[in-house]
C-alpha cells in the first residue's frame, strides 16, 4: 500500500479532531460532567453515517467486517480502566496525540504514560491472555446476529435517537 494513503487519512482525521475542539481536554471533561456534548455530537454522526456507508460497501463486496473479539471480561475491565483514566487525563489516545501537536504539554506526558502502559501490557500479556482474555470469550459477535434485528434497523434507530436527542439538546441550549 502506498505510504501516502495513511498519511493523508491521518492528516484529515487530525484536522477534523482539531476543528471539532475535542483536542481541548476541557471539552472531553465537559462531556463527562454533562456540561458540553461536543464529544457525542461528533461520535454519533460518525457512527451512523459511517455505519450506513460501510453497510453499503460490504453489501457490494467493496469492504469486509473487522470485528474485535468480545472477550467480555477483558473488554469490561479494560473499558472501566479507560473511562476512569479519561476523567483524569481529559484526552483519549487519538486526541492526546492530536493535542500534543497543538502544543498541549500535559497531553504529551499522557502519551509517554501510554507508551509505558503499552510496555506494561506487553510484559504482562501472557498472564492476561490466560487469565482474563479467555474468560467469557464469545468471539467476533455482532448485534444483528445476536438479536436477529437487521443492521439497517439498528442504524436507523440509533440515528433517530441521536437526532431526537440533539434537537432536544439544541432547543434547551437556545
Amino acid at each position: 500500500m502506498h505510504v501516502l494513503l495513511p498519511l493523508i487519512m491521518g492528516f484529515a482525521f487530525g484536522i477534523l479532531l482539531n476543528r471539532s475542539k475535542v483536542t481541548d481536554s476541557n471539552v472531553i471533561e465537559g462531556q463527562f460532567c454533562l456540561c458540553d456534548f461536543t464529544m457525542l455530537k461528533v461520535m454519533l454522526p460518525a457512527i451512523v453515517i459511517g455505519g450506513l456507508g460501510v453497510l453499503v460497501l460490504i453489501h457490494f463486496g467493496d469492504a469486509k467486517y473487522h470485528i474485535k473479539d468480545a472477550n467480555i471480561l477483558g473488554v469490561a475491565l479494560g473499558a472501566t480502566m479507560f473511562g476512569l483514566a479519561l476523567v483524569f487525563l481529559g484526552y483519549c489516545p487519538g486526541t492526546s496525540l492530536a493535542a500534543t501537536a497543538t502544543g498541549s504539554v500535559h497531553a504529551l506526558v499522557g502519551v509517554l504514560g501510554m507508551l509505558a502502559g503499552a510496555m506494561l501490557y506487553a510484559f504482562s500479556f501472557s498472564w492476561i491472555k490466560t487469565h482474563i482474555l479467555n474468560v467469557w470469550a464469545v468471539g467476533k459477535v455482532r448485534l444483528p446476529e445476536l438479536t436477529g434485528v437487521p443492521d439497517i434497523i439498528w442504524l436507523a434507530g440509533l440515528g433517530a435517537i441521536a437526532v431526537a436527542g440533539f434537537v432536544w439538546l439544541e432547543r434547551r441550549a437556545a
Binding site: 487519512m9 460497501l57 487525563l89 502544543g103 501472557s126 448485534l143 439544541e170 437556545a174
Partner: protein, 184 residues
C-alpha cells in the same frame, strides 16, 4: 472541509445553532468509508501506538526482550499503515491549529486547575499515570475511542458497544466523584 463547516456555523450563528460538530462527525464517518474500502483497515490508534512502544522497550530492556515478547512478536513495529496514520494525525492537528491560530503551549488545563490547582508537577504525574492506565485498559479491551468507539460501533460489534457503554458509565461516575457536580 473546515472552511465549509466554518461558513455553515457562521451562517447559523444568528440562530445559535453550531452545526460544525455534527458535520465534522459526519466527515469522520465518510473517512471511515475510505478506511474500510480503499485502505481495508478501520480507523484506530492504540494498536499502532502500542507497536511504537516496542523500539522504546528495546532501548530500555534490550532488543531481544522486546523482539521475543509474545505481545509484540506477531506484530512488530514497522512504519506500517497504522503508524503512518498517527504521523499524519499529528501533522493534521498541528497544521489545523496553526491555521486557526489556536496553537498554544498548555501544561495545566482549566478543568484541572479549578479542582487541583496550578502545580505542573502534580498535573504531569497524574497525566502520566492516567495515560498508562488508559493504554493498559485499551489493549486489554482491544481498542480505544477510535477503534472501538467509532470503527467497532459502526459495525455494530458487541465488544465495541460493551466497551463504549462502560467507558461512558465509568467516566460519568468518575467525573461525578472526582470533580463533583458542576451546575451548568
Amino acid at each position: 472541509m473546515s472552511m465549509l463547516t466554518d461558513r455553515l456555523s457562521q451562517r447559523t450563528a444568528g440562530r445559535r445553532l453550531d452545526l460544525s460538530p455534527y458535520l465534522i462527525g459526519s466527515a469522520v464517518g465518510v473517512l471511515s468509508w475510505v478506511a474500510f474500502s480503499v485502505a481495508g483497515d478501520p480507523l484506530g490508534v492504540t494498536t499502532a501506538l502500542s507497536q511504537a512502544a516496542q523500539p522504546i522497550a528495546a532501548l530500555l530492556f534490550g532488543a531481544e526482550t522486546a523482539a521475543k515478547n509474545p505481545y509484540w512478536a506477531p506484530m512488530p513495529f514497522s512504519w506500517n499503515y497504522g503508524v503512518l496514520f498517527l504521523v499524519g494525525l499529528m501533522a493534521g492537528a498541528l497544521v489545523s491549529s496553526l491555521v486557526a491560530g489556536t496553537f498554544r503551549f498548555e501544561s495545566v488545563p482549566r478543568f484541572w486547575r479549578e479542582r487541583f490547582g496550578g502545580s505542573v508537577l502534580k498535573r504531569f504525574a497524574v497525566a502520566f499515570v492516567a495515560g498508562a492506565v488508559m493504554m493498559f485498559g485499551a489493549r486489554m479491551a482491544g481498542g480505544c475511542t477510535s477503534g472501538h468507539g467509532i470503527s467497532g460501533t459502526l459495525q455494530l460489534a458487541l465488544s465495541s458497544w460493551i466497551f463504549i457503554a462502560i467507558v461512558f458509565a465509568s467516566g460519568l461516575i468518575g467525573s461525578r466523584i472526582v470533580y463533583g457536580r458542576k451546575g451548568k
